[in-house]
């Protein structure tokens, strides 16, 4: 029995590590509920579009870099596999895979799309031609990558879910995304929250107020006894 708290701590530590992978984790307090800037993308067909053009249905943002030797490949393949298992109507959501590396361009993204066969009708693979706009978008979703070398950049492994109005609603973390993760993200992006998801944001403020109220009550009680 004594080992239970230790086991719980180790489990939560392991889950935390596996959730964020490498890189600097985003600060969700800053990003959830915010609207990213309406930046211009160019997709692998050479067509320019803006983030606002995707409004009307949830968007799954997947920041990757085409030269990635490992994580981005696993992420994209697992999203593709999970979505095919879910078998959702492709008209009900959009996937936008884009490069966070300002040095990558159309040819890099074309190569990535062809290599990993990201050909679904609702899946756009793109890059942001304006570097300032790219970093504004990365700041908006608080995506921070670490330069290791020209080939290797460490980064958090995540998907960002925007609602039909383009507001950031949810993040999913991990390397291999499961159908359950994508289903949860799309559900939240549609505004369908479970009871736990509705109340979980209030646990900290309610706990803080409760702690302060208990402290005040104890102090008042001590004063009355005197």
């Amino acid at each position: 029995m004594r080992a239970l708290p230790l086991a719980g701590y180790l489990l939560s530590f392991a889950l935390g590590c596996s959730a964020f992978g490498q890189g600097v984790p985003p600060n969700l307090a800053k990003t959830l509920g915010a609207t990213p800037p309406d930046v211009k993308f160019i997709d692998t067909q050479g067509r320019a579009f803006k983030l606002s053009d995707l409004k009307g249905k949830p968007v799954i943002l997947s920041p990757i870099y085409a030269g990635c030797p490992s994580a981005c490949i696993v992420i994209s393949r697992s999203v593709k596999k999970a979505l095919s298992e879910l078998n959702l109507d492709p008209e009900t959501y959009t996937v936008l895979t884009f490069s966070f590396d300002p040095k990558e361009d159309l040819a890099d993204m074309k190569g990535f799309q062809q290599k990993h066969q990201l050909n679904a009708s609702n899946w756009r693979v793109a890059y942001v031609p304006d570097d300032d706009a790219l970093f504004q978008l990365l700041d908006a979703i608080d995506f921070r990558f670490t330069y290791v070398s020209e080939i290797v950049k460490d980064h958090p492994n995540l998907l960002v879910f925007l609602d039909s109005e383009g507001v950031i609603r949810h993040y999913e973390f991990g390397l291999e995304f499961t159908p359950a993760q994508l289903q949860r993200g799309l559900r939240i992006a549609r505004g369908q929250y479970t009871l736990w998801e509705r109340v979980s944001d209030w646990i900290f403020p309610v706990g803080a107020v409760g702690m302060l109220a208990t402290g005040a009550w104890l102090m008042l009680g001590a004063r009355r006894k005197r």
Binding site: F20, V24, P25, A29, F135, T146, G215, M219, A222
Partner: protein, 148 residues
């Protein structure tokens, strides 16, 4: 309980609550970038400054007895308005890395990497100090970020 003891306790509790409130306000209200320990970050052995985007820089800092390797020793130059990601580690013992007039206030820990982001809006000299006692030469461990 003595009444002075009670007053001291009440004062201490009030201060704790005030500091707690300030921490919550800094994180949520001001949305300050809090220093972060990256337990699974890749370690590095040499300092450097890398331009990763338009006026975006990454500074890898290796602290040692008794200086800061940032590609150059103890001093770096950056343009005004630069957004800089600082990654800090140590080659030997625990050091500190505090940049005056900013929220960069990190521990340099052997075998681990700590991180903070800052935007240098104003030109000038920002003093860097080691604020963790690290041995006989600790008092000489200082540097500058020169923002032009």
């Amino acid at each position: 309980m003595d009444r002075f003891e009670k007053r001291a306790m009440a004062l201490a509790l009030s201060l704790v609550m005030m500091f707690f409130g300030l921490v919550v306000y800094a994180a949520k209200g001001l949305q300050a970038d809090l220093p972060t320990c990256l337990p699974n970050a890749r370690l590095f052995e040499r300092g450097r400054v890398v331009e990763i985007g338009p006026n975006r820089y990454q500074v890898d800092v290796v602290a040692y007895m008794w200086g800061f390797d940032m590609g150059t020793v103890n001093q770096i130059k950056l343009p005004r308005g630069a957004v800089v990601d600082f990654y800090i580690t140590s080659r030997d013992v625990m050091h500190g890395y505090h940049i005056d007039k900013t929220l960069v206030n990190l521990m340099a820990i052997p075998g681990a990497v700590t991180y903070s982001r800052v935007k240098f809006d104003r030109a000038g000299e920002y003093q860097i100090i080691c604020h963790e006692y690290c041995g006989l030469g600790h008092q000489n461990m200082a540097g500058q970020v020169i923002v032009e």
